[in-house]
């Protein structure tokens, strides 16, 4: 692959507690509600919902990759600017298992209460939060092997 072919675009990953990532990247992979969405520069304008999952920002494709465990949220792409708005994001390297476990417990107990006859919309969000906490714990569990993860090299 010719390296001139690598175009970058602006990526912002924003939570209510502040921006987690702001900068240029070559490739962005977000967990869309119906499956992962990969975004390259010059992507068509898009608005989508995100489920809890892993968001990967390839600052340099296959070389400098930031991985985040992100909560449910929304995603928007317009003219070489991608914006992900999520309710929580933790960089894979800095996940606090204690915090994740607490989140998991709170969400589970809340879900149990909802289970006793309440609306589906809310339940969906709780399930997302549980998945997000589990997602974090899962990423922490695999943290040792994260460095050796076989990233597809551009060659």
């Amino acid at each position: 692959m010719a390296s001139e072919g690598r175009r970058t675009f602006d990526v912002s990953l924003v939570t209510p507690e502040g921006a987690v990532f702001e900068g240029e990247a070559e490739l962005l992979i977000v967990p869309g509600a119906d499956g992962e969405i990969g975004i390259l520069a010059r992507h068509a304008p898009l608005v989508a919902t995100l489920r809890a999952g892993a968001t990967r920002v390839h600052v340099r494709r296959g070389e400098d990759v930031r991985e985040y465990a992100t909560g449910p949220g929304f995603f928007k792409v317009e003219q070489d600017r991608a914006l992900a708005l999520v309710d929580d994001a933790a960089e894979a390297a800095q996940i606090d298992p204690e915090r994740a476990r607490n989140q998991l417990e709170t969400a589970r107990s809340e879900l149990e209460r909802v289970e006793r006859g309440e609306s589906d919309a809310d339940r969906w969000q709780l399930e997302q939060r549980i998945r997000h906490a589990e997602n974090q714990l899962q990423i922490v569990g695999g943290a040792e092997s994260a460095d050796q993860r076989p990233l597809t090299s551009a060659g």
Binding site: P16, A44, P45, L85, D87, E110, E118, A121, D122
Partner: protein, 298 residues
């Protein structure tokens, strides 16, 4: 008249009090700064969320207007008042002014024939309401100094749930808006139904309309909007909680500064009285010595 010993003891006691109020002032000012930083940090999220919502709402309304539970307006029978108070006192008028305003609002709403329900954040609000024998449907406590986004989510979920289930027809949040450490303004915010102007592009910072038609929506705009509205609610509550937290710290800082100043004045007055008393004692002793000497030489 108090003796020198008594005055000395009082000065020592006031001095200790001043140490405490000084420390509280410093802690409050550090927390205030943190709370302000968090308000700043959430602004980009809130702004972009709103921008997104306006864009999606415009795309959605071209297909099918309304129909979403959180936007539905109906005849108001049950109104929830949600006062945001602190968990602790010693914050000047912070809690009192919220509650005073809240009771005024309650009288007004009851006068209009509505059934008022109470959902409250903060221990102070809960205890005052139960002391006055109001029935509190739900109370959230334990986070007033440092509310997390998940605290706002918990409150928003509950309110949205009750509203969608038609248990409530209107929700009003009452909180302290942070102006400065000296000034906090009580504001009422209509939370539910979500005001229509929120979805209109009239305000600055809205998405430029020329892009709207070009977006690919996944899923349909209506479904995205259905999911955006609860998040909007969370964001608004989070903003209110942060404003309230900043106000609480600001009010506490000011109250403790005044308390420290009063303590210092008191110490000055007491020290003066103590010195006078000591001087009086000395003068008395000299008079006695002189009188004794006169008696001998006479």
């Amino acid at each position: 008249m108090a003796s020198v010993q008594d005055l000395k003891r009082r000065v020592r006691s006031v001095r200790n009090t001043r140490k405490i109020t000084k420390a509280m002032e410093l802690v409050a000012s550090a927390r205030l700064r943190r709370a302000q930083a968090r308000i700043e940090a959430m602004r980009p999220y809130a702004d972009r969320m709103q921008e997104l919502m306006v864009g999606v709402a415009r795309a959605a309304s071209t297909n099918r207007p309304g129909g979403l539970p959180l936007l539905e307006r109906r005849e108001v029978r049950r109104v929830a008042i949600v006062p945001l108070t602190g968990d602790r006192g010693l914050a000047g008028p912070f809690n009192a002014q919220i509650l005073r305003h809240t009771f005024g609002l309650e009288r007004q709403l009851s006068g209009e024939g509505a059934d008022v329900r109470w959902l409250v954040a903060g221990k102070k609000g809960r205890s005052t309401l139960s002391f006055r024998r109001y029935e509190v449907d739900q109370a959230w406590t334990g986070f007033s100094d440092q509310p997390a986004y998940s605290d706002a989510q918990a409150i928003a979920h509950r309110l949205a749930e009750l509203y969608a289930a038609k248990e409530l027809d209107r929700v009003i949040v009452v909180y302290n808006h942070f102006v400065s450490a000296l000034v906090q303004r009580v504001v009422e915010q209509e939370l539910l139904p979500i005001p229509e102007r929120v979805l209109e592009a009239g305000f600055e910072g809205a998405a430029p309309p020329e892009h709207v038609g070009d977006f690919i929506y996944e899923p349909e705009p209506d479904q995205i909007l259905d999911r955006l509205l609860p998040v909007y609610l969370e964001t608004e509550l989070y903003r209110a909680l942060l404003e309230s937290a900043a106000s609480e710290q600001g009010a506490r800082m000011t109250a403790m500064r005044n308390a420290s100043k009063n303590a210092a004045d008191l110490i000055d007055a007491l020290t003066l009285a103590m010195n006078r008393a000591r001087q009086a004692e000395i003068t008395q002793e000299i008079l006695e010595v002189v009188a004794g000497a006169d008696a001998l030489s006479a």
